[in-house]
């Protein structure tokens, strides 16, 4: 008989410049907090999945994290999937528990690109192992923002738009982040302030780029947890999907359409749900342009109209799809290799109806999207609150 697996615990700490003494200390704190939140004893952890920070030289980072925690989970793996990692780890942990691989599972991703030795390693490594081809792209000096700027220029040209479409994303996320205590950037952002921010790679300005943040999060899944032991309404993974085009923009078949929609379609099919069932979408937006293209690829807006979804919402219009209620990567923060973890944590908090002032009323189904590289690879998960499962 197949087992019931639920997300029982989450943890997140404030993003920004944090001063944690090591990435391991942050991982330890997040895992302990998530286990506490779930009410699950550490010795029940049979699955531990991590993303290795670039600064950590361990052969298998997950095994080093387990060692740090004094745990011996049977299944201990690290993922190389960029910002799609958190969603893919969630799926893997879920499937392992469903298949009988253990009692509880921990998924954790955290990084400290602003702090100590990891900052230097981050800057050095991003140039070496970023989404830029070492032979046929590196010689021409494209930064990561420049790669996204190539898509942004193509997008604005294709739909005859100006920088207001990009500003709408940055301003939407900033307005959302104002209500989240863990968000990195919470100050208000006017259109003039957006336009005053310095140009990084035209048409992308500083405020089109997610900040480099310390941070991360952890999630605990439990198999067949007795109702009496639960501390929160259970959140279930109803279905997930993935989609990939290619790693380097030089070889992409389109500059304005990628595979986020493929990932969402897979998740909808697996979950037996429709797009209209989604109450909240948490979209991977390391740059403002990523939000627009991903929203449109997933069918939440017509081509060229992604900004409208966000502008209506910011204006207080009811009935439109709530997006990135935590501020997205753009304002909640982008903890380097742990990018996308906050999307997962926010979904669980919203589905518990524990999001306070930013709560999406009646939130029962949430989409968590993750993306690797320059639109290279995508993952989508549909999480549902217990009674909707």
């Amino acid at each position: 008989m197949s087992r019931t697996v639920a997300i029982a615990g989450v943890a997140e700490l404030p993003h920004g410049k944090t001063g944690w003494p090591s990435t391991m200390a942050l991982h330890e704190a997040l895992v302990r907090a998530a286990l506490d939140d779930a009410g699950v004893p550490p010795d029940t952890v049979d699955v531990l999945l991590t993303v290795a920070p670039r600064s950590d030289p361990y052969l298998v980072h997950a095994v080093a994290v387990a060692e740090r925690l004094g745990l011996s989970p049977a299944h201990c793996h690290s993922y190389e999937a960029g910002g799609a990692g958190p969603v893919l780890m969630l799926r893997a942990a879920h499937d392992l528990l469903r298949a009988g691989a253990g009692r509880s599972a921990v998924v954790v991703a955290a990084d400290l690109p602003l702090t100590g030795v990891s900052r230097e390693a981050y800057v050095r490594n991003l140039a070496q192992v970023g989404p830029v081809h070492p032979e046929f792209e590196v010689p021409f000096g494209p930064t990561v923002p420049a790669m996204f700027a190539l898509v942004a220029r193509a997008y604005l040209d294709a739909y005859r738009l100006d920088d207001e479409a990009l500003a709408a994303v940055a301003r939407h996320d900033r307005a959302m982040a104002a209500g989240h205590p863990n968000a990195h950037q919470r100050g208000p952002m006017s259109l003039p302030a957006y336009r005053d921010s310095r140009m990084i790679a035209e048409p992308l300005r500083l405020l089109d780029c997610a900040p480099v943040s310390d941070g991360g999060g952890a999630v605990v899944l439990v198999a067949d947890q007795p109702a009496a032991d639960r501390r929160w309404p259970a959140v279930h993974l109803a279905g997930s999907g993935a989609g990939t085009t290619g790693l380097h923009l030089s070889f992409a078949s389109s500059l304005t359409e990628f595979a986020a929609g493929v990932a969402l379609e897979g998740a909808l099919q697996a979950a037996g749900r429709r797009r209209a069932d989604i109450d909240l979408a948490l979209i991977y937006d390391c740059f403002s342009i990523a939000m627009l293209v991903n929203l449109e690829d997933m069918g939440f807006a017509a081509r060229g109209h992604g900004a409208g979804v966000l502008q209506d919402r910011a204006a207080g219009a009811a009935g439109r799809l709530p997006v990135n209620t935590h501020g997205g990567l753009l304002s909640h923060g982008h903890p380097a290799r742990a990018g996308g973890m906050s999307n997962l944590v926010e979904a669980v908090i919203q589905l518990r109806h524990a999001a306070g002032d930013r709560q999406v009323e009646g939130c029962a189904t949430a989409l968590v999207h993750g993306m690797a590289g320059v639109f290279a690879s995508h993952a989508a998960a549909l999480l549902v609150r217990e009674e909707a499962a």
Partner: protein
């Protein structure tokens, strides 16, 4: 521009050797004749082997960005510089730079032709692009090999 040196492999030696001789040399299918990029052992369309063949060096800017924050300290002296995706007439795309003009002269749809500049330290020549004059070269012939317009930038043009 102070181009960072590419991490080359033996497999792509013909590309860099061609660049050193002022030629844009790219993989082409021996079966269906289509140009292929990136490098592979066999054509992803028909499965026939690929060989290296000289391309026209002509293309069109698909999209571009003007970089204000450089990728490295070495490149900081070159900002603002233009990174562009160029659709070659052969049907494949190269990421490269448009050089030899003000960034404001670059736009999507602009015709460009290949030129070559040395990478820092290694001196490996890398393919960059310069804008064609309005009356410049037209689309290359279908066989790609007859209209080879190689152009090596003189120092004053860089």
């Amino acid at each position: 521009m102070r181009h960072p040196t590419p991490t080359t492999t033996d497999e792509t030696a013909p590309f860099w050797q061609g660049a050193g001789e002022g030629a844009l040399v790219l993989p082409r299918c021996t079966g269906c004749g289509r140009w292929r990029w990136p490098v592979a052992s066999a054509c992803p369309g028909c499965g026939a082997p690929l060989h290296w063949a000289p391309a026209s060096g002509l293309g069109t800017v698909l999209t571009f960005t003007v970089v204000h924050r450089a990728a490295s300290d070495a490149l900081a002296a070159d900002v603002p510089y233009v990174v562009a995706l160029v659709a070659l007439d052969e049907g494949v795309r190269l990421l490269s730079n448009v050089v030899g003009c003000a960034p404001s002269e670059v736009s999507a749809g602009r015709r460009v032709r290949v030129a070559f500049e040395p990478a820092e330290h290694s001196g490996i020549m890398v393919p960059v692009f310069v804008v064609c004059e309005p009356a410049g070269p037209t689309r290359c012939a279908e066989d790609g090999a007859t209209y080879v317009t190689y152009h090596r930038l003189e120092p004053h043009e860089r």
